[in-house]
């Protein structure tokens, strides 16, 4: 998963909490000295956590739109902008026009768009879609189970565990070789 295609929008779908940590990690992976913009209405985004996750405070911008229309407009503008490497938004419902606009904006800007959404949405703007669920962790790590459910040319069904060390804040991507549920102890290969 670690390399997402640039100039594209990617979606992280999650049944419960929006997987902000996974988005942070992806943003850091693709930042390469650029800027990241959060375009969201989550009221209590903890800046300290974002910075600990490796997003430098001076490259971090946040926009808080008041409604869906503003959010889509702001996200489209952010994606179009070559000064933003990664733009993250949490839109609920998208219509075809909005989805297309986001995609075109990302192509123009050359960065990466990450949309955090619910799995049941029908209209997607994204090149790849990933289903993210919490997985069981331990005293030192928190884990997420990430599965590619739609991807151009990529094998769908491909799964990873993402592991965040709560002491060092390091993130490890662990490929799951056998197709087992994340809750059982998976056979893993460090990635």
């Amino acid at each position: 998963m670690s390399v997402l295609e640039c100039g594209q929008v990617h979606e992280l779908l999650s049944p419960e909490d929006a997987p902000l940590s996974v988005a942070m990690w992806l943003a850091r992976q693709h930042l390469s000295g650029g800027n990241v913009m959060w375009c969201e209405t989550v009221t209590n985004l903890n800046a300290q956590a974002l910075v600990f996750a490796g997003l430098p405070p001076n490259q971090l911008y946040r926009v808080r739109p008041r409604n869906h229309r503003e959010a889509i407009w702001a996200m489209t503008e952010a994606l179009r902008c070559r000064g933003i490497r990664v733009a993250i938004a949490m839109p609920m419902r998208l219509n075809d026009v909005e989805a297309r606009r986001l995609q075109l904006a990302a192509e123009r800007g050359g960065g990466i768009g990450i949309l955090l959404r619910r799995p049941h949405e029908t209209i997607h703007a994204a090149r790849t879609r990933w289903l993210v669920k919490p997985a069981l962790g331990d005293a030192l790590t928190q884990r997420w189970h990430v599965e590619l459910i739609h991807g151009h040319g990529r094998p769908t069904g491909q799964s990873f565990l993402l592991e965040v060390n709560r002491e060092t804040h390091h993130v490890r991507e662990i490929a799951i070789v056998a197709d087992r549920s994340a809750a059982s102890t998976p056979a893993i290969v460090a990635g």
């Binding site: 430098p56 405070p57 000064g83 804040h169």
Partner: protein, 457 residues
């Protein structure tokens, strides 16, 4: 109040009733007396003079301007020419005026209000004042009346009185005014400050309300503003657009730019974004653009960094400007890290984007939840049995949902004052429920109450 020369010739005087005046002249035009607007008009006239006669112009409301011409005399070819030039300027504006030149502001004013378009020098000043009425000294009407009662009508008569007796009978003000006029006492004047602000304004005969027309007007004003910016070698950093309805106070839109710009296209784009939702109501009768802040434009700026990087930087500032213009000035924020061990006080989101923070040493502090409530929410928690109520959490209930915990990592003790300034200790636990969701909960050491503070989402 005032009357024009034509009306005066018909016999109309200040202080008449409207009916009396109407009886004297058939084509009488009556205009309301608006001191505020008159003052603005006077200031505008003063600024007009600043550009033509002298940079030192002071207002003497309600109807006089004081212009220091000593410095301009040589430049403009002598006092005669200045007087002629001033008179010509006033004529071209269709403003009737009496113009006098004297070594002191007081004397010039006295001559002008007495209708004596004269020039006097140091030597002639006393002689010229002699025959003028006392009110020409800019004295209070009470003092003028008191002088009238004792038969003093001209300045000459006044000057003949013993100096020492004046302050007692007529107040200190009178003596000061005499001295201002004769030059015995220098008179401080409040010169108009040169206006560095670029203001472009358009007034309409009838109110306009369609956004298309408003934008067309803005485009014209932007064009003029941009031309003036280029002339001055400056770029705008903050622009104010004022939309003035006929009755109510104006609607004001501010646009803040991150880099100084002169480009009309860019300015117009931002104006368009910020006025999309403009409520025109009954329409506007005037629109004005004011450059609130500007800065010298530096063309070498982009040579310092790589071209591509500069493009990206420029696009970023463009993006921020557009977001601010359409969604509000404080819409874009950036984190500022604050050295505090209280989690909710360790950062803030600030719209001041010039603020820079240092990267903290992250691994000194264990994981912090990405969603952190400003105010922790009290929750019910079941803890492991213990004698002193300090057991570890087994499950908690939040919004009617029971979370059975399979992990409780901690406690991490954070001491000190918290949200209400109370001095209490918190014992934090990272807890994970059976589905793998993680929360940040704490127990207050003093009260044993439990709170949910954040989510590791």
């Amino acid at each position: 109040m005032a009357v024009c020369d034509a009306a005066r010739n018909d016999g109309i005087r200040i202080g008449m009733t409207s009916a009396e005046a109407a009886a004297l002249s058939r084509d009488l035009i009556r205009l309301p007396y608006t001191p505020q607007q008159d003052l603005r008009g006077l200031e505008a006239l003063g600024r007009w003079m600043m550009a033509r006669i002298s940079s030192h112009v002071a207002l003497a409301p309600p109807d006089a301007l004081l212009i220091e011409v000593g410095g301009s005399a040589r430049l403009l070819g002598g006092l005669d020419r200045i007087a002629r030039r001033t008179a010509a300027s006033m004529r071209s504006l269709k403003v009737s005026a009496d113009i006098a030149i004297a070594p002191t502001a007081g004397a010039a004013w006295a001559l002008a209000v007495a209708g004596r378009n004269e020039q006097v020098d140091e030597a002639g000043i006393l002689g010229a004042l002699q025959r003028l009425p006392v009110w020409a000294l800019r004295i209070e009407s009470a003092a003028a009346e008191a002088l009238h009662h004792i038969g003093i009508e001209t300045i000459g008569q006044l000057l003949a009185l013993p100096r020492s007796a004046l302050p007692v009978r007529f107040g200190k003000g009178l003596l000061d005014r005499i001295d201002h006029a004769t030059g015995r006492l220098p008179e401080p004047l409040h010169w108009l400050k040169p206006s560095w602000r670029i203001r472009e304004r358009m007034v309409f005969e009838s109110a306009i309300d369609s956004l298309e027309i408003i934008w067309a007007v803005l485009a014209v004003l932007v064009g003029r503003t941009s031309a003036e910016l280029m002339r001055r070698g400056q770029g705008v950093l903050e622009l104010q657009a004022r939309f003035e309805p006929e009755q109510s106070p104006p609607t004001v839109q501010n646009i803040v730019l991150s880099t100084p710009t002169q480009q009309p296209k860019k300015i117009m784009e931002l104006l368009r974004l910020s006025t999309e939702t403009l409520r025109s109501g009954a329409g506007f009768i005037a629109i004005e653009l004011i450059v609130m802040r500007s800065q010298r434009v530096c063309f070498q700026q982009s040579a310092l960094i790589g071209a591509e990087e500069a493009d990206a930087e420029q696009e970023l500032s463009g993006l921020i400007e557009r977001l601010r213009a359409r969604l509000g000035e404080t819409i874009v924020t950036r984190p500022r890290l604050i050295p505090s061990h209280i989690p909710e006080r360790a950062f803030e989101w600030t719209s001041d984007l010039t603020i820079t923070s240092n990267n903290p040493i992250a691994d000194a502090i264990p994981a912090r939840p990405v969603i952190l409530a400003e105010r922790p929410v009290e929750i019910g928690v079941v803890v492991t049995p213990s004698d002193d109520r300090t057991g570890r959490p087994i499950s908690f209930t939040h919004q009617g949902r029971v979370h059975r915990l399979r992990l409780a990592i901690g406690p991490e003790r954070i001491a000190g004052e918290w949200w209400n300034g109370h001095n209490k200790t918190r014992d934090y636990f990272d807890v994970e429920d059976e589905t793998g969701r993680r929360f940040w909960v704490f127990r207050v050491g003093e009260t044993f109450k439990w709170y949910l503070h954040g989510r590791f989402a």
